[in-house]
């Protein structure tokens, strides 16, 4: 019951915030980019398949770049509102269990990432339909791969749980935007170097995109989802024990 009450309050706090607007802006950028990437091609080979190339391209860019940055921004924003005027002291003086507060913050970040990923799926389908109409020379445009899109969107989201948990903890633990953003930008930037390394298989910020890589799929999904739960529990325990000075 407490968790539902806290979630209910968290939803109201999102009103008029950038956190809410960003779940539309980020996927729109990726879908637009993918649309123009295909639209600008001069000719297509006979085996070009729009509904393989477009969703995979959009979800890959989403997983390697935009989703980690979105998670960084969303967690910094939804937890930053509590640091701004030292709201933690007000919240903890209310009859609300601290673990419910932490869990609600984490669930909101997960829900925003899920909603934004779903919006990307919808925009990708719209982009594909528009391309099929605008480029009459596109071959293989009939069978829309809804199942593949939704399945891989879910995999990307599950593999991102670990970075959602890490960023939730960082942005709750330390006030100020700089550290939270620095951790996210740094994590995403080093993913470029980690991608080609053998250990890149275990690098948290690469887990979402690793679901598309053969031989890395199972590790990405298991480490992302299970690691996310473990990191969330550790973060929650630290949060519950902390003094509010």
């Amino acid at each position: 019951m407490s968790l539902i009450r806290v979630l209910h309050a968290e939803i109201l706090k999102l009103k008029r915030t950038l956190a809410f607007r960003m779940i539309f802006v980020a996927p729109l950028l990726v879908a637009t980019l993918q649309f123009f990437a295909i639209w600008n091609q001069r000719r297509f080979s006979a085996n070009f398949n729009l509904w393989e190339t477009l969703p995979k391209g959009a979800l890959s860019i989403w997983a390697v770049f935009m989703l980690p940055l979105l998670i960084t921004l969303e967690t910094a924003l939804i937890n930053g509102v509590e640091h701004g005027e030292k709201q933690w002291k007000q919240i903890f003086a209310l009859p609300v269990p601290r673990h419910a507060v932490y869990t609600a913050k984490l669930l909101v970040a997960q829900a925003l990432a899920a909603a934004s990923t779903l919006i990307l799926c919808a925009l990708t389908v719209l982009a594909g339909l528009a391309l099929a109409r605008l480029r009459a020379d596109l071959p293989n445009t009939s069978a829309i791969s809804y199942v593949w899109i939704l399945k891989y969107a879910a995999f990307v989201w599950l593999a991102a749980w670990l970075i959602i948990s890490i960023h939730t903890w960082v942005s709750i633990r330390w006030p100020g935007f700089a550290l939270a953003l620095g951790a996210g930008i740094g994590g995403t930037f080093f993913a470029i170097f980690a991608a080609s390394a053998r250990m890149g298989k275990y690098y948290p910020w690469l887990l979402p995109v690793n679901v598309f890589t053969e031989g890395r799929f199972a590790t990405a999904l298991l480490m992302g989802a299970a690691g996310g739960v473990i990191a969330a529990v550790i973060g929650c325990v630290e949060f519950v024990r902390r003094d509010v000075v």
Binding site: A9, L12, K15, R16, E85, W88, K89, I91, A93, D243
Partner: protein, 309 residues
């Protein structure tokens, strides 16, 4: 037997090597206003944070309405409303939405929002965003948040900080009426005795983490002693002469001296002493110590004792 809203036993908290609160035994009776008084850095906010369970004591315990806080934090916090230092508000939401966030967290009925807005006289501005609020309006909204759940105990940490004189007057009026109108106990911290003495029925004076006085306002007033106020042309030299002659003297901000003596004979002897030393005495009068003097005597005495130790 008198019931207590707040009772602390041996409450102690350190921050590194610094002892912020030292063996504190508070007793705040129910349905009164308890003024928790002390200079800045005395340990008031640390004490309040322990009363609310925001930080844990190193030793001792807090009891609210007779029940230990450590065992039943959540159920006890249902009876408590708090405003710690500056109000914690969401500037992008309206005043009403800020109260709605707290209402959802409390699981309280929606009607309480209008009640709280009415008490703090903020109903007209409730639908404006908080970022447009003045300091006084923010402070009143902070009080509305604390009052939202109709608490039995209201803990207010320096509630008039940053307010202009009109805002202070308004806030003081609001707080004064809370025990009578709502049966709530108010625990109010301040570094200004003049503020507390106008509202509080009971007073606790804390300095360097220790409780120096605790009792009713009347008990504190009973500690007033008569003393002499002396004006001399060289106050520093006059003070040295008086101290050398065994009179306890203290220099006031206005340049006059306060001497712990209260008889006509003492006044005459002090006058001759100073005149014989070549000083010109232009003022000599008997006066009763103000509460401010008692407060300063208590807190200065403690500081000097610490330095001597």
């Amino acid at each position: 037997m008198q019931k207590h809203a707040i009772e602390t036993r041996g409450l102690t908290r350190r921050f590194g090597a610094q002892l912020a609160v030292d063996d504190l035994n508070l007793l705040a009776p129910e349905a009164g206003v308890y003024g928790f008084l002390g200079p800045n850095g005395a340990g008031k906010t640390t004490t309040i944070r322990m009363l609310l369970g925001l930080i844990r004591p190193d030793a001792g315990e807090v009891r609210l309405f007779g029940a230990p806080l450590a065992a039943g934090h959540l159920s006890l916090m249902r009876m408590v409303g708090a405003l710690v230092e500056t109000p914690s508000l969401y500037p992008h939401l309206t005043g009403r939405e800020n109260l709605e966030v707290a209402r959802r967290l409390l699981g309280a009925p929606r009607k309480l929002i209008d009640d709280a807005l009415g008490i703090v006289k903020l109903a007209q501005d409730a639908d404006r965003r908080v970022r447009e609020y003045s300091m006084g309006m923010r402070q009143r909204l902070g009080l509305a948040l604390a009052l939202l759940n109709k608490p039995r105990l209201l803990v207010l940490d320096e509630p008039t900080n940053g307010l202009d004189p009109a805002g202070i007057h308004e806030m003081r009026d609001l707080i004064r009426h809370l025990p009578a109108e709502f049966g709530a106990t108010v625990f109010l911290s301040s570094h200004l005795l003049s503020e507390v003495e106008q509202i509080a029925s009971h007073i606790g004076i804390i300095h360097q983490g220790r409780l120096l006085f605790q009792g009713t306002l009347a008990e504190l007033q009973a500690q007033r002693r008569e003393h002499l106020i002396i004006g001399a042309n060289q106050p520093e030299r006059a003070m040295r002469c008086l101290t050398a002659a065994g009179w306890g003297a203290r220099r006031r901000d206005d340049g006059l001296l306060t001497v712990s003596a209260a008889t006509r004979d003492a006044a005459a002897r002090i006058n001759s002493l100073l005149v014989n030393q070549g000083l010109e005495v232009f003022h000599i009068a008997m006066a009763q110590a103000s509460l401010e003097d008692i407060f300063l005597t208590l807190t200065n005495g403690r500081s000097e004792a610490r330095r001597a130790a």
